[in-house]
Point group: C2
Chain length 339, copies 2
């Protein structure tokens, strides 16, 4: 912790702290205290200097700064090693580099903006600056590559749980669309990209990338996404405290990750199922050039989508799902409407 | 093809080719022909200049040069893009870089020597200079990561087939130890390291690394490997033409790879089984900290080892196998001897 962070911590304990008290506590001159306060202001902190009384922290910047995240962090490993960038090509690429350099499990890369944000299946991830969360975790599960999809499914539960902690997000508004899209009122609010570095029978590391649309305005999305994507701000009208949300996500993810590695996805399947927007729906799944249509019966303990079609039951490990049963999920109510 | 390679090709057609004929065929001066011949000699070719008759190619260097490999190559894709290095850290690392840079399927990286040759499970691969084969192929299979182990098993069949084409290697001397070690007279002669770059439900690229001990002398192995490792030269007394072997391996691999991607490993399981040295043996398999002991019944269509133990039948996707039934495979005869 550097001096500026220690000043922040002291300022958070009391409404007003005298320059002398700060100077004594840190063993630096009052002029040096002043210099650090100026640096904090430059980083976006509002610190009032009240004559003869001292300094008062009145607001923190809406920025993903390590000090802002760490003060909310209740984890053992996730987010404890933290690299925050103002601009980066892709948090997943950076985390993959850190993974190859032996970064410990739980290492987190955050960025305010991605210039080459990536999504599943080679797609891009729209990454406007300073409004959302672009987070990538380094994981080192003792699992076979075949178990990788279970991690991605579990991560969706962690994101859904973290979203549920936000004010205004009543049960039923947050949903998961298999395999791991998170929806808010039927529109995509978060996406997950899980990449592996593996031998064929052994995972070396996984980079779990999570993008969550938090405070993005409608204008932040390109026109073609405006009907299908949303942000928490758009859906609830309330801004999200992003550092607090980042810390909450570290917490739900650590708990869920440890459980899936220890007990397998089966232990999480009921919770996953409780968020699923596909169960009972008629869908088409595209996978490796093949299309299957059927009614979704749920998810099995291995994380496979159970689809009942005209040719019997199929269990599908991976694919892209479209709902074809004539319902659409739209609108703020989260209720289904016939088109 | 550069001029030196065209000269080589012309010299291979006839016992002796006149300088004038070369000069005419290539449209360069006789002095230029001489310059290229000198360069070929510097690269290790023996080219006799016979007075008034011309040039005669009497031997090619024992080197993994593109021209030497390509003239034996009968493949469509495998080995057609070829990068040969005198010294490299690891052919797999280089191939992984090429894979990220969109190298086409079948791209082959070869090196005469590796300074950081790698094996399975984070082990190293002993890589003395100019005697063996260190080869890494870029693959782009449309498979799920869960199917990756099938590629590694199939690759072992390709290596075994290529070894079987060598003189003196009668059936029964070449064996496969699950999952993908190749043995010669019961000693390890080749190893395979298969690495994936993948999303959890989609392989982006695979790097298939194959190390084959061809002409290594006993002294090339560290003391601790001398009882368990061998080379073709040590086992048969005959030197291997390494460029020809590299080309043969490209051929067997292309055929087998295309088959496993199209039809699944089941189509290759009988051939794999015909090489297996474990079927019927009592073994211990270590996998993710768990040990299982039982009798090997064979391999299933998914490439899993079928083990019959006291707790019933187990199908094992990955692990390290030790034979525990009191037999050892040693000696040049390939026969089993009681210790």
């Amino acid at each position: 912790m550097d001096t500026a962070e220690r000043i922040l911590r002291l300022l958070r304990r009391e409404p007003v702290v005298s320059g002398e008290a700060l100077s004594d506590a840190l063993g630096i001159s009052r002029a040096a205290v002043w210099k650090h306060v100026e640096a904090l202001r430059a980083a976006g902190y509002r610190i009032d200097a009240q004559r003869a009384r001292g300094y008062a922290l009145t607001s923190a910047p809406d920025r993903l700064l390590p000090a802002e995240i760490e003060r909310h962090l209740a984890t053992e490993r996730f987010g404890r090693r933290l690299a925050c960038f103002e601009t980066i090509d892709s948090t997943n690429l950076r985390a993959a580099t850190l993974a190859r350099e032996d970064a410990p499990e739980g290492t987190l890369v955050l960025a305010e903006r991605q210039t080459a944000g990536r999504g599943r299946l080679g797609r891009s991830w729209v990454s406007p600056a300073r409004v959302n969360l672009y987070a990538s975790f380094v994981l080192r599960p003792r699992l076979a590559p075949a178990d990788g999809p279970q991690l991605a499914l579990a991560a969706a539960v962690a994101v859904a749980r973290a979203l549920r902690t936000l004010p205004g997000l009543a049960p039923g508004r947050v949903a998961i669309k298999w395999p791991n899209d998170c929806l808010l009122d039927g529109r995509k609010v978060a996406g997950i990209l899980t990449e592996m570095d593996a031998e064929v029978d052994r995972i070396r590391s996984v980079v779990l990338g999570i993008g969550v649309n938090l405070n993005a305005s409608a204008g932040a999305f390109p026109a073609e996404l405006r009907d299908t994507a949303t942000s928490v701000l758009l859906a609830t009208g309330a801004r999200v405290d992003r550092p607090r949300f980042a810390a909450a996500l570290c917490g739900t993810l650590e708990a869920i990750y440890d459980r899936v590695v220890r007990e397998g996805f089966g232990a999480l399947a009921p919770e996953w199922e409780s968020y699923s927007c596909l169960t009972g729906r008629v869908v088409t799944v595209e996978c490796a050039g093949r299309r299957r249509t059927g009614t979704v019966r749920g998810i099995d303990a291995g994380g496979r989508l159970v689809l009942e079609g005209s040719e019997g039951e199929a269990r599908i490990m991976a694919g892209d799902v479209s709902i074809v049963d004539g319902y659409r999920m739209l609108g703020r109510t989260g209720k289904e409407e016939r088109p």
